[in-house]
């Protein structure tokens, strides 16, 4: 069951339903004019999804396959893989990355603001102040995490 786009309220929906009932009692020619002109779209949609699903299933059924442990191993140019790729590594890199993103983005936004400082006026100043204040939170977080103690 599908509903034309306009029908939002419950009352409209009821009217549409009634329309369908009436339509079904009318001749086939009249049916094509209203509502059900979307039916081919629906059929096409069902066909499209059905085709994809069917092809995916059939290829897995009739295609040759061989699932050995060696085959499913991750490919590392033929050399046997050593350990897991998802290793925990030092948080320092993460902090440095965050630090970079923080100041990089800030500087990028500062440039257009600086060149149009007068045009933006007070409103622009407030917007930029909020922006910087937001970044200050990140800065404080980094400060608390001792991202600036370099030794």
């Amino acid at each position: 069951m599908f509903v034309p786009l306009g029908a939002k309220s419950k009352r409209q929906l009821e009217q549409v339903m009634l329309g369908f009932v009436r339509l079904s009692t009318r001749s086939v020619l009249n049916m094509e004019i209203q509502g059900s002109e979307y039916l081919p779209l629906l059929i096409q949609l069902v066909f499209a999804f059905g085709f994809v699903a069917m092809v995916l299933i059939i290829t897995h059924l009739i295609g040759p396959n061989r699932k050995s442990a060696k085959k499913l191993e991750s490919f590392e140019c033929g050399i046997e893989s050593q350990g897991n790729a998802r290793l925990p590594f030092s948080i320092k890199y993460f902090l440095t990355a965050i630090l970079f993103v923080l100041f990089d983005v800030e500087v990028i936004f500062f440039y257009p603001w600086a060149t149009n400082f007068r045009e933006f006026g007070m409103q622009g100043f407030i917007a930029m102040f909020l922006f910087v204040a937001l970044f200050l939170l990140g800065f404080l977080y980094l400060f608390r995490k001792k991202a600036f103690t370099w030794n």
Binding site: S68, A69, K70, C77, G78
Partner: protein, 180 residues
């Protein structure tokens, strides 16, 4: 006026608005004209392969312009060059990780038989560790020869039965190489 050559239609029943043939032929035709090679080049035959892929000889004419550097999407393993015994397990691993169906072409004397390197450290032919479909002789072979080998592979692919990889003979062949 382009001189693009189309593949001829296979044998089948033709009539008004329909054409019927066996699934084997259609799939064989499609596979044979879009073989994706995985180059495993270790020495001078690899240099010849570079010329083969270049515009002068242009392997792309045969539907093989898409090189696969991962075995997952490759159809044809092209072994070109001397395979040392240390390289053997690596070659075997690459072969085993290729998706089915897969074919192997052994290019040059070294890959096919060890060539001039009749020594303790060199594998005397890759068919000692993986099954090979086509051998290309030469030291190194000219690009024309490599293309000829690929065309032989195309013939094999075109005429392969869809059941071949499930037959006991094929399973026994893989078992003899210790491949699951």
């Amino acid at each position: 006026m382009s001189n693009v050559k189309m593949v001829e239609a296979p044998e089948g029943h033709e009539g008004q608005g329909f054409f019927a043939t066996s699934l084997d032929t259609v799939i064989g035709l499609a596979r044979a004209n879009s073989i994706w090679p995985l180059p495993f080049a270790t020495s001078c035959c690899g240099i010849e392969f570079m010329a083969t892929m270049g515009s002068n000889y242009d392997l792309a004419r045969f539907g093989s312009e898409r090189m696969s550097f991962s075995p997952r999407q490759a159809d044809l393993l092209m072994v070109m060059g001397t395979i040392a015994k240390k390289m053997g397990p690596i070659l075997k691993q690459v072969y085993e990780q290729m998706a089915e169906p897969r074919w192997v072409i052994s290019v040059g004397a070294c890959a096919s038989s060890g060539g001039i390197f009749d020594t303790y450290s060199v594998l005397q032919g890759i068919d000692r560790i993986i099954p090979v479909d086509v051998y290309v002789p030469g030291c190194p072979p000219r690009p024309e020869q490599i293309i000829d080998g690929v065309m032989k592979i195309q013939e094999l692919v075109k005429n392969e039965s869809l059941r071949r990889r499930n037959q006991p003979e094929y399973k026994a062949l893989l078992e003899s190489y210790g491949i699951e």
